[in-house]
Amino acid sequence: MFELLGITPQGLVAQLLVGLINGSFYAILSLGLAIIFGLLNVINFTHGAQYMLGAFISWIGLTQLGMWLGQPDFVMNYWVSLFLTPIIVAMIGIAIEKTMLKRLYHLDHLYGLLLTFGLALVMEGMFRHWYGISGESYPVPEILQGGIQLESLGLFLPKYRVWVIAASLTVCLGA
């Protein structure tokens, strides 16, 4: 059967594992979308942009903030950032809701969709203008560096990706 598929059993399991990891990223992403739609009845197009905002705030804290403050040696702790960033992004979300979205509740869904879509474009445009399109990366804390060698699969599983699965499962089951 595996000859027919053109892949070895180990290869298949490795690919499934990678699929699970990527699925976890999407699970975290879509969970927020589902909750917002469920609670507020708003199709939140800014969700993706806010997801990006979270990543950027972490990156800024871990690599840029020191320079901004004039103390190049200052680096925010990864775990502190993991706690603070969601709060900051939530504040931005609250600001958007209170100042703009709130006024549209009595109107058709489409207006909320239009507003959030426009906001998403604005946010993406701003960050593209400021930071370009190249990916930026922040240092991964020591405990999550490296990976686990799965000899039987011939696969080297990065610890950071395992951490993503764990975090995703926790959030999804908790919600």
Binding site: I21, N22, I133, S134, G135, G147, G154
Partner: protein, 405 residues
Amino acid sequence: MKYKLVTKAIAAACLTAMAAGVSAQKVSDDVIKIGVLTDLSGIYSDLAGQGSVIAARMAIEDFSKNKTVLGKKIELVSADHQNKADITANKAREWFDKEKVDVIVDLVTTSAALAAMEVAEQKNKITLISGAASLDITNSKCTATNVHWTYDTYALSVGTGGAMVKAGKKNWFFVTADYAFGHNLERDTAAVVNSSGGKVVGSVRHPFPGSDFSSFLLKAQASGAQVIGLANAGQDTINSIKQAAEFGITQKQTIVPLLMFITDVHSLGLKAAQGLTVTEGFYWDFNDKTRAWSKRFFAQHKRMPSMVHAGVYSAVLNYLKAVEATKSDDTAAVMAKLKSTPIDDGLFKGVIRADGKFEHDMYLLEVKKPNESTTPWDYYHVRAVIPAKDATLPLSKSVCKLVKK
């Protein structure tokens, strides 16, 4: 006798003046309009993008302080082709038909470049390609109204591919961007590998643009090949290299980005990129002239130029020189002038061949280790200069319809 000579001289002067008068009117629509059609928002916008617009503007200002040629204004327009062939073709048509654009420069994606070339050929206008890479641009799909300025997949395969095979890396697997450029780069590199006794054990194609390459990289890893050749570019290459390191693939196999720009090295960081071999047509820190120009570019863009930016500058500058020399913006006349005048503008030196390929030296570069880099953007060791003749497909092997055999 003397009287006759004077008459002759006056007659000659009058004729020259008349000729000049007549040709000066040959600037169509009383304006020379240059269109930079490039990726302004997508995965290639760091290596081309706004930098290409700045490079074109610098070329115009360097050519003439008050931005005129033959007494006519030089205008610059730019647009985002989004790396899509249909958008590119539409924009090119609009520019040529309605906006009086005479020449389109840059064109970063091969599929987009080929689309613009076709429109330009129909409308008898010029394309000067800097960003796109495929050999087909001046080979099987060549047009008489096009110059391929900066580099092509042939040069990349000879440069990086050749260097790797020479270093004993003979067993290859390709991770290829699934469009014209990726296919061409894979084809040309596989030819170099096969002809020098190497072997290609397989390849996998990823969607363009991609973001997650882990499943393709795992396939490459399972192949057991010595070398994983990345036949992709820009952000795709950066992400492939990062993810290969993340999955520990780099410990046993060698990752070879077949096309990489200095902007990619900047984004990756020297820690991740050190030791990689790349082939480029321009490096800012090559000599005094390239340094002087690049510093002026840096002052405006806050980044050092990629070879694509340098190519756009050189293309625009030499186009304007050709317009001035032929005293017209007539496509055939300007193209003939470009192809008959050796180019040496401080950034590139060489000749434009009958098939439209600008034949110039290429550089084989190695990315420095973090401790070897002394100043910002000090990223490369120049390992070899690949002579122009070796970096370009010999005309005897060309299938371009413009090459007489």
